[in-house]
Symmetry: none
Subunit: 198 residues, 4 copies
DNA sequence: AATGAATGAGCTTTCATTCAT
DNA sequence: TATGAATGAAAGCTCATTCAT
């Protein structure tokens, strides 16, 4: 009956959606949300402007979807903690992972910061962002407890601040920023062994 | 009708310029650069749209001027260091000043971060921003030298990262952020006596 | 898979067509022609957008079909005049029928008026509408002849105007309109006995 | 001081505004509200699209302004009733005035009817329309009281219905409609002397 | 110096219609 | 017969910038 099978349609839909999401992610990260036009997204994705509205209700909706998409992807990796590893090792892994993410998707981190700092973000998005921040803190807190810090919550937040600050420096200066030095400096504070090859 | 003297014209010109700059600063900081319209600036400044173009070439030009203006004002205060104070006291003063500035002009700090992170900032502006960052580092470096740090340059940069990270947290969360705790934590690391009343 | 017989296809085709027509009628009547989208019609009819174009050439074509369809349906009822009834009774019946129709299908009457006033001039449609109007007049004319009016054609048209005016009032004001009073007033003019229960 | 005097600006502003209003009136009446684009209005008015938004907030706002404008203009004439004239004469004048208006601005009357019948008119507009209708009725009511009608309110409304019906007929059929005959027929009912030259 | 009317390019969004399957 | 993904033209609207005065 069906001219295209449901599966075929699903595949096509998913492809388009992904193309849009990828294009939007790239452009939002590169130029920011305001400066990125729907026309640009469509062109980058190789589809028509109209099709975007077939998949998303508005430009803001695209941003939310890009966001959700990335959260989901990130979460997968984030959650792969080795149960048996020591707190120090876990902390090390988290730092390294953040480092890799930062290097690979600086645009996205930039966008995240922009959104986190924005005065009037879209409804529903700011919650996501704050949850993301809070989630990170909560995840790190037990590690500091295990490491014997008296006020683990405070330490977790302070750790977050350091990571944020280093991120900012890297994003602002790029390769001119002594990223590795800063990371090493950070690891030292938490008695993490530094891999010399890095 | 009444032929104005050069002096009168100069005064009027300066007044208009300041009004524009103030209005632009406020709005840029509050809503961001893209979202702030020239019409809004004119309205806030209490002058006409056209007049802005007598003083500045473009919207970007206004931003640059706002920036320069603030750098100049900030520098004045920044430089009022007491020659006789100890490095620790000076560091303390710098931290406290940053704290006050952050609390009083969160919009401006926000704007600074936005600009610092922007990929394609306007010609000439990014240099300014980087100089501003570098200036801060260079200013702090001698303090760490005096405090006996081996790699003072690195420590200065790390200190900057921490300050940036704390700023970000405060800007993102506002009063929900444990700003004072973070600052105290920072001061502790540098053996700065913490004023209990704060 | 299952090779359909011609009859089966015919049945399916007719069903789809009717579903489209019903959905379109409802939406056109409720929201007007311009505001009703093909997507909305498809959704209301429970079929796909594409299918509409298998049955009709365009949105305008759908409107024409809706129109024709309703004319046909209406005509059936309209023609059921009792041969033996007096002119006054017949007139009464016509008025009552119009009243019922108006109350039951205000959307349709509204649509008719919209079309009669031809905001959207569609080739071929306006003729239909004028024929419909003329048909009504011609149907009423013999009654006024039988009632002894000198200029029956004129009286028929004047009667039509009154009916139209009352319809408009009702459609514009809804239940706030003293519909029954107006109808009674009209019947009085033609010496029609008024049923008190109304 | 002022580069253009306030008076000059006022004149320019008024000119533009009138040009827009005239163009919009003409096009709305001709093609209807939906079909008339802002671009078309701008072109007809001989100005840019953007300028319309300098004067009006939205397309709907233009319609409201057109409406208000016409109400105001109409009111002026409508109110010029001779205090000394008899009720019959006044009624006659009202009928004649309506007739002239209908002939001169059929598009506008059409638009009025469309708006009056529309299910979801813009906020604020429907009130205007109903007030306009009500206003007419209220104005006519005293005349019927003076003429000795028992239920003057009802008669006023019935009179309105007749006028509406005749308008509709004329708008639907144009010059094919026996407008003068219908008007004469109406006047006869109220014992208004008919000017033979008409 | 100052105004604000005016422009026009470009924005987001809608939707009748087409087409591969 | 039937689907719905995809298109593209055109809509309403915004805004940095220009210009006559």
């Amino acid at each position: 009956m069906s001219p295209r099978t449901k599966e075929q349609n699903e595949v096509i839909r998913t492809q388009s959606r992904k193309a849009i999401l990828n294009a939007a992610f790239e452009l939002f990260a590169l130029d920011g949300f305001s400066k990125t036009s729907m026309a640009a997204i469509a062109k980058e994705a190789g589809i028509s402007k109209g099709l975007i509205y077939h998949h998303f209700e508005s430009k803001e909706d695209v941003l939310k979807a890009v966001f959700d998409n990335l959260i989901a992807e990130t979460a997968d990796v984030w959650l792969q903690e080795d149960e048996n590893s020591s707190p120090v090792d876990t902390l090390n892994t988290i730092i390294d992972f953040s480092l890799i993410f930062m290097k690979q998707s600086p645009g996205w981190v930039r966008l995240l910061i922009h959104l986190a700092l924005q005065e009037d973000v879209m409804e529903g998005l700011s919650e996501h962002i704050h949850q993301l921040r809070e989630g990170k803190i909560l995840q790190v807190k037990p590690l500091f407890e295990a490491l014997g810090y008296e006020n683990a919550a405070e330490e977790a937040m302070y750790f977050g601040a350091k990571m944020d600050g280093i991120s900012m420096g890297f994003l602002a200066l790029g390769d001119e920023y002594p990223l590795q030095q800063m990371i090493n400096r950070l690891k030292l504070e938490y008695n993490i062994h530094i891999d010399e090859t890095e």
